[in-house]
Amino acid sequence: MRISTSTLFNANVAQLNTLESNMLQTQQQVSTGKSILTPADNPGGAAQALQVTQTDATNTQYLSNISMAQGTQTLASGVLQNFNTLLQSVQTSVLSAGNTGMSDANRQSVATTLQSDLSQLTAMANSQDASGNYMFSGFKGSTQPFVNTSTGVQYMGDDGQRSIQVSPNSQSASSSSGADIFMRIKNGNGTFVTQATATNTGTGVASQGSVINQALVNGDSYQVNFTSATTYDLTDTTTAATVSTGNAYVSGQAISVGGMQINISGAPASGDTFTIAPSTNVSVFQTISNFITTLNTPTTGNPAATAQLTAGIQSTISGLNNAMSSIGTANAALGSSLDGLAALTSSDNNLHVQYQQTLAGLQSVNMTQAISNLTQEQTILTAAQKSFVSVENLSLFNYIQ
């Protein structure tokens, strides 16, 4: 086959070009450590790398969100624990007010202690986080949640619970509503509450009672009406129906109605009434301030007032128990949430490692392979260059004199 001179040159030059451009590509891979320099190097890989990078980055964002949620939850948990500790001390003071031998003056000084405790508890419920937001006011973070008014401590926040995105499809609470924790506390035994009418003149005290047949509890309110010192009527005040009349009264004996059972002890006077009603929500602050009022009422020489004090102590104790239980439940929920977040943190950290490995697999170059390729290409290029020069020198004109 006949070869023209230009073909000799052009073919070699073209080959040298190809070798040089391949070598440049390999050299860039070695110097950047990436096998994907432009999308054309690996289109599917480049596209996938974009998705993996986003997934990894959002995972890192979730880690940061989790740490934020952990911060606020730990803070809230600390406040609730301190709150319950103080409540226990309040409970001790309340019990001490029932000691025989306590004078009115002694009870008033207990009332003073309780008043300062109440201020402290209110301040705790108004705690703020590091950014200055109130922790327990729901979505109204710059509004103080618990405010003293003439009718007692009122809740000024809302029921909102701020959430933080901690994974692609789950959120964690980073604030709680003070209404649920401090305000929605059932009084009495949680289902019903007994109350002695304030105008009673006897010394009867109604116990907190308990539910003996849940199926019969229908939310009706009842009244025990003493027609004499030894007999009483039972009326359903919701339906205005009489349940029974002329029941014999024995101090301490059980009285059952509507699936609920209480007992009354002491000596009620004729005309005294006691109500049994479904529990309502009474805030922990209201429970304490009610008792402070009771403590400030002198009882010396007034047996009815003493009975009211005893009843007051009972209802305050159950109110405080219910409050501690509510706060304890909220705290337990925070605790388990924190545990969940800790587990999520460690699994997210593992995910991060996996995503980085996937990315490396997609776009990092195998350095050993690349360097070996580079060396090989350099060798081939050198050989091509040398052979080109030696071939190019051959010409018949060299031999024509």
């Binding site: 006949r2 070869i3 023209s4 001179t5 230009s6 073909t7 052009n10 073919a11 073209a14 320099l37 432009t38 999308p39 054309a40 190097d41 690996n42 289109p43 599917g44 480049a46 596209a47 974009l50 998705q51 990078t53 986003q54 980055a57 959002t58 964002q61 940061s64 969100n65 950014s131 937001n133 729901g138 979505f139 109204k140 973070g141 710059s142 509004t143 809740y155 809302d158 029921d159 909102g160 701020r162 959430s163 933080i164 995105q165 692609p168 959120q171 980073s174 209404a179 305000m183 929605r184 939310g219 479904p278 309502t280 929500n281 805030s283 776009q363 010409s395 018949l396 004109f397 024509i400």
Partner: protein, 650 residues
């Protein structure tokens, strides 16, 4: 007899001289582009009859002809055109490929920074620094989009410029070919049919160079001139006449230049762009229609999707001042589709387009035409057609309206919904307090409720207005009937486990725990057992500085499949773009390399026939030199013979 001796030798000397001249010419032109080596064709002159038989009369060079294979030359020309097209397309697309290459700058990192900032606002909605960072990162994101789009626009401008340059070159070649046609015909006729080799080589070289600009077909005429046509048969050169191409503004898309050819009558006929194949021009047009516009559209689709869906979600929230975002208060500027009225339209119609559903956007361009009775809307990516007798018509999330005027039959419009998405995206809000992180409604239950039911905080959809909860709605539960009453007079929908029940306006609503209740665009859930007489209030959200419900929804947009009919997220669309460009570039790299290899091997074949081999010419020099020496020696001997004859007479 001696004259025969001399004349034969003279003819031999002449032939050798011509041979040498031809060889020297070959050597001199060894590196001339398009040169075909020439051979002197010797033929023995007719013999004369003498008594002793026919005696030869010497040699004559009948012609100097070029060693030319028409088939191989034609192949080289055609493949040069194809190679030039692929190389041009490849070098243009490499610009886009490189633009999308960086993993540290570019759309994905900017998008991530922005959504990290949105997450920070969701974590601390009351924080002004967090809100300001969200605005700043949004501005960076916009700048990133704008800068990429600017690069694409520059590429378009440069393509237009290169089209003009190419067209001028083509016109130059056309004129030269026409002139050479004339010279060649003249030279051939005045020399009695001898081929004017240099002119022929020059003309063939011009045809090859023309093919580097545009694929051209050559038909050789009987008189030896070339007729050249381009595109789908439009004549560029006919005999001595050259027509010219011009780059004219496209009637449908003013940002593009198209190619038109002039005719004998002086009119310009636009060439069908897809019919221009081969050469740099073919490559530029293919690049523009198959890659550049698509890239602009898809990049614009990402930007349009981000801006549009983000604005929609932001409008469902409430800012720090307690106001809902409105259309004049949006976070990004709302994306606006581009509508081009065809400059050849005769009617007065003005058409506008608005985006009604971001999820349905396809990123394709659309052509709207009117035939006198019906409007035909064609999706240009796959030529799907929708026909409608009137406007407005809504297709793929875009609503096209007749804003004013009336169209005439034959009028058309080019609608590009996403092409300017990346150019125009910008942050409209400057006051960080206006970011709508909170939800506009709040549901509360008073602590005096004795039941055990709780109500969720509530959410809204796009049909919600403040009128829904003005005045505040108080729902009351009736345990005997198990209903909730107190809704405003609008229908109420209760959805439980996917099954929806609609209650007429004003009717009591049956209570089901855990069901979602919605009315007037607001929805919430009540769970648990309420007591008789329990109430729930749904009202406008006030003083909600730490409410982050809408901010959470905004942050979630990043990973949701908001685009392409619910199948793709923002980064999903962007990665499709990267994949497409990467694939096209990689394919072009392979095909252009393969085409170059093919071209080189065809050139090698052609050169093996027509190319100069210096060693061969060196041998030819020796040959003709020997022939000359031999002829000279024979001349000397003939002269000696004559001298001998002359000396006989002495």
């Amino acid at each position: 007899m001696s004259s025969d001796l001399f004349s034969i030798n003279v003819s031999a000397l002449n032939a050798a001289q011509i041979g040498l001249t031809t060889t020297e010419n070959n050597i001199a032109n060894a590196n001339t582009a398009g040169y075909n080596r020439e051979q002197a064709v010797q033929a023995a002159t007719p013999g004369q009859n003498s008594g002793s038989g026919y005696l030869g009369t010497g040699v004559a060079v009948s012609t100097v002809q070029r060693v030319y294979d028409q088939f191989l030359s034609g192949q080289v020309t055609q493949q040069t055109g194809q190679s030039a097209q692929l190389n041009t397309y490849y070098s243009q697309i490499q610009q886009i490929n490189n633009m999308l290459a960086s993993s540290t700058t570019g759309v994905q990192p900017a998008l991530q920074s922005f959504f990290n900032a949105v997450n920070a606002v969701a974590n601390s909605p009351e924080s002004m620094p967090a809100r300001q960072t969200m605005i700043s990162t949004a501005q960076s994101l916009s700048t990133t989009f704008q800068s990429l789009s600017q690069q694409l626009t520059s590429i378009n401008t440069s393509v237009n410029g290169q089209i003009q340059t190419s067209v001028s070159s083509i016109n130059g070649y056309a004129q030269q070919i026409a002139a050479l046609n004339q010279s060649i015909v003249l030279a051939q006729s005045s020399s009695g049919g001898q081929p004017p080799n240099a002119l022929l080589d020059q003309r063939d070289q011009l045809v090859t160079e023309l093919n580097q600009q545009i694929g051209a077909t050559v038909v050789k005429q009987g008189d030896g001139s070339y007729n050249v046509s381009v595109g789908s048969g439009q004549v560029l050169v006919s005999g001595n006449t050259a027509y010219s191409l011009s780059a004219v503004q496209s009637t449908s898309n003013p940002s593009q230049l198209n190619v038109a050819v002039g005719t004998a009558g002086g009119t310009l006929i636009p060439l069908q762009q897809s019919s221009i194949q081969g050469g740099a021009l073919g490559g530029l047009l293919a690049f523009r229609s198959q890659t550049l516009v698509q890239t602009q559209d898809m990049l614009g689709l990402v930007a349009t999707g981000v801006a549009g869906t983000f604005n929609q979600q932001n409008a469902l929230g409430q800012d720090l001042n307690g106001n809902m975002a409105s259309s004049t208060n949006s976070f990004f500027t709302d994306p606006v589709p581009v509508v081009n009225t065809n400059s050849a339209n005769t009617g007065t119609a003005s058409v506008t387009a608005t985006i009604t559903n971001y999820s349905k956007l396809t990123g394709s361009d659309y052509s709207l035409s009117y035939d006198g009775t019906n409007y035909t809307l064609t999706r240009l990516s796959d030529n799907t057609v929708t026909t409608s007798a009137t406007l407005p018509v809504t297709v793929d999330g875009v609503s096209i309206n007749l804003a004013s005027g009336t169209p005439n039959a034959g009028d058309s419009f080019l609608i590009q919904p996403t092409i300017n998405g990346a150019t125009n995206i910008s942050v409209a809000v400057t006051n960080p307090a206006l970011i709508a992180a909170a939800a506009p409604v709040m549901a509360n239950a008073p602590t005096t409720n004795t039941g055990a039911a709780a109500i969720s905080a509530g959410a809204v959809d796009s049909t919600y207005t403040a009128a829904t909860v003005t005045p505040a709605v108080t729902l009351t539960y009736n345990s005997a009937a198990n209903t909730l009453t107190g809704f405003p007079s609008v229908p109420v929908t209760v959805t439980n486990n996917g099954v929806a029940t609609v209650f007429a306006a004003g009717a009591p609503v049956t209570y089901t725990t855990g069901a979602t209740i919605s009315f007037g665009g607001a929805s919430f859930t009540i769970t648990g057992t309420p007591a008789n007489g329990d109430t729930f209030t749904i009202a406008q959200n006030t003083s909600a500085t730490t409410d982050n419900r809408n901010a959470l929804l905004l942050a979630a947009l990043q990973t949701q499949n908001t685009m392409q009919g619910g199948t793709s997220s923002y980064v999903g669309v962007y990665s499709q773009l990267v994949d497409q460009v990467g694939n096209q570039t990689s394919n072009l790299q392979v095909t252009s390399t393969a085409q170059t290899t093919l071209l080189n091997s065809t050139i090698a074949s052609q050169q093996s026939v027509s190319g100069v081999n210096l060693d061969e010419e060196a041998a030819n020099l020796l040959r003709y030199q020997q022939a000359y020496q031999a002829a000279g020696k024979a001349m000397q001997i003939a002269s000696t013979l004559f001298d001998t004859l002359l000396s006989i007479g002495k």
